[in-house]
């Protein structure tokens, strides 16, 4: 478990879509260098929570505090420049640009925005591309990559932003166990090297959660159901009930 200082806090966040309460008074605290997994079945509010943290959605109630500063009203691009980076569940690379250009844009507009030249951004992109193992594809158009490669590209693009908090949305979903381990080991390396807090959303790949997460938060119907170390949480009767249905216990 990490004992670093708190980088991100979600306070009493509620988000409604019409009559549906997608997030119901959610509280979370994430520490520097921590690896947290948020799990929960489809529709439990995980992605909505990410969108509130990243600024795509404004909460109806509550606030998001990043490094002691209330960022609830800030647009996504400002939060990104402050150090909140994310990947998308369905990868959103810039398809007609090369892998190198994709990652360089991350470097140019991330936390180093305004402090880095194009040349430096491209050099940094090449380093990160090598780190995630995409060097052979550096010149390739991002749209022509395979899905696991696109996920690696998104990871590289987010790392290039030099974030303090890295939000990974289903980064290993649909990957073979070997590819998933490769991605997660890269994440762990980056986390250690830069002291980034990592929050990953995972729907089903419990093996990855059990192996890599330091803390697990289970969401159900817009609420935080259980929170704690993976060994405890994954065996918790409420969690088993949520995943397997009431009859199973």
């Amino acid at each position: 478990m990490s004992s670093g200082r708190e980088v991100l806090r979600v306070e009493n966040v509620t988000k409604r879509f019409g009559g549906i309460v997608a997030l119901d008074k959610v509280n979370l605290s994430i520490r520097e260098g921590e690896m947290m997994s948020i799990i929960g079945p489809n529709g439990s509010g995980k992605t909505t929570l990410f969108n509130v943290i990243n600024g795509v959605l404004k909460p109806d109630e509550g606030r998001v505090v990043f490094e002691g500063r209330d960022v609830t009203e800030l647009p996504p691009y400002k939060r990104a420049a402050m150090g909140i980076a994310r990947t998308f569940q369905i990868p959103k690379p810039w398809p007609n640009l090369s892998v190198r250009e994709n990652v360089a844009i991350g470097a140019l507009f991330g936390r180093l925005q305004g402090k880095i030249t194009v040349k430096e951004a491209i050099a940094m992109a090449d380093e990160i591309i090598e780190m995630v193992g995409l060097s052979e594809k550096a010149e390739a158009e991002a749209g022509k990559l395979t899905v696991p490669e696109k996920k690696l590209l998104e990871l590289a693009r987010a790392i290039a932003m030099k974030p303090k908090v890295l939000l990974l949305d289903e980064v290993v979903a649909g990957m073979s166990p070997r590819d998933a381990d490769k991605v997660m080991e890269t994440v762990v390396r980056v986390k250690r090297e830069y002291g980034i807090a990592v929050v990953s959303l995972v729907e089903h790949v419990m093996r990855v959660v059990a192996r890599y997460a330091e803390r697990v938060v289970v969401m159900h119907q817009g609420r935080v159901l259980v929170e704690g170390p993976p060994g405890e949480v994954l065996r918790h009767p409420k969690v088993v009930e949520v995943y397997l249905g009431g009859e199973a216990i």
Binding site: A80, W94, I105, V118, R157
Partner: protein, 349 residues
């Protein structure tokens, strides 16, 4: 920092060389091929139109159907400046910097006004909103009887006051065309600089996926407005030189003619949207085909008894469609896909 980053400057210079070389050849042809100077001036006008349009449409993917309004307000601003300077008795040369400044300024004001409203819309919605801008402005000029209303402004008299009879002849012919060559070179440098700087990366990210751009730190509104204003200012100066200085006549019907916008779209898409060479190559092909079908092919058909007004356009359309089908990313896009040789690729910017 980005402005003086030496790498960006070097990249911009390298990227601009092929385009500047094409304009140098056009300039040589303009002077050296007898009786064809206006054909090359027409190619120049359309290449510039495409280039100026490309900075917004090509780089961001937003299609502005009201684009020619920038040329129109630029032309009017230049015309009004000419009238004011003539009545003040200023020396003629002052018109060029002041008139161009007024043209760029008027276009940028229009761009910020249209942009503030329409740039909140995405994709097709933006395109639909901008159609109204051009037509609305035109009817506003005509209906409210502004600057000559539907009759327009005739500034030949003022230009003659400024430059004298002989001086005007020179200004309206060779000088206007040379200034347009100068503007073309300037536009190449502006485009090359954008492509080599943070702004170019931001615009491409917006074009490729605006949501991802926003989530990854790009201030999309700022960059869209910047590109829109740059593109508009260059268009305003083009309109000023082409209609106010060269023709001396500003009629709403001509300067707000929506077909210029459509032609700009064709030229940019034909050559390769978002590339530096694309609009220039697009203009060469578009005007070249237009010229061949108008001057050679249509008379040939008329010779065997097929007569119709606009026959050359009927010939032109399927050829353009064939080009777009064969090269959906434009000629430069196609060449970039096909050519792997890194030395040649360096020139396909």
């Amino acid at each position: 920092m980005a402005l003086v980053d030496p790498w960006t400057v070097r990249e911009a210079v390298r990227k601009s060389l092929p385009a500047l070389a094409i304009y140098a050849v056009l300039l040589a042809a303009y002077f050296l091929i007898p009786g064809k100077s206006q054909l090359f001036a027409t190619i120049l006008f359309y290449a510039l139109l495409g280039q100026a349009f490309n900075i917004f449409m090509g780089m961001t993917g937003y299609v502005d159907f009201g684009y020619v309004a920038f040329l129109a307000v630029g032309a009017y601003a230049f015309g009004v400046t000419a009238m004011a300077l003539a009545s003040l008795g200023s020396p003629g040369w002052t018109l060029i910097p002041l008139g161009l400044l007024a043209a760029a300024g008027a276009a940028m004001i229009l761009a910020s006004m249209v942009g503030a409203i329409a740039l909140r819309l995405r994709g097709a919605y933006f395109a639909i909103a901008t159609i109204g801008v051009n037509e609305g402005l035109r009817y506003f000029f005509e209906g409210a009887n502004i600057l000559g209303g539907s009759i327009g402004l005739y500034i030949v008299k003022d230009l003659k006051t400024l430059f004298g009879d002989e001086g005007y002849q020179f200004m309206a012919t060779i000088a206007a065309d040379l200034l347009m060559f100068g503007l073309a070179g300037f536009t190449v440098l502006v485009t090359a600089w954008i492509l080599s700087s943070r702004m170019g990366f931001a615009l491409q990210a917006i074009r490729e996926d605006e949501d991802a751009a926003r989530a990854l730190g790009v201030n999309v509104t700022k960059y869209k407005v910047l590109a829109f204003m740059t593109s508009g200012a260059l268009g305003g100066m083009l309109g000023a030189l082409n209609w106010a200085l060269k023709e001396g006549v500003l009629e709403p019907e001509t300067v707000f003619f929506i077909v210029y916008t459509v032609e700009a779209i064709i030229i940019v898409v034909l050559g390769g949207a978002g590339t530096l060479l694309g609009p220039i190559v697009g203009a060469l092909i578009y005007i070249g085909l237009n010229y061949v079908s108008n001057v050679y092919a249509a008379p040939l058909l008329e010779g065997i008894g097929i007569k119709a007004s606009g026959l050359h356009l009927i010939l032109l359309a399927p050829i353009l469609i064939a080009f777009i089908i064969a090269a959906p990313n434009g000629i430069i896009g196609l060449l970039r896909e096909r050519i792997r040789n890194p030395t040649i690729r360096r020139f396909l910017v």
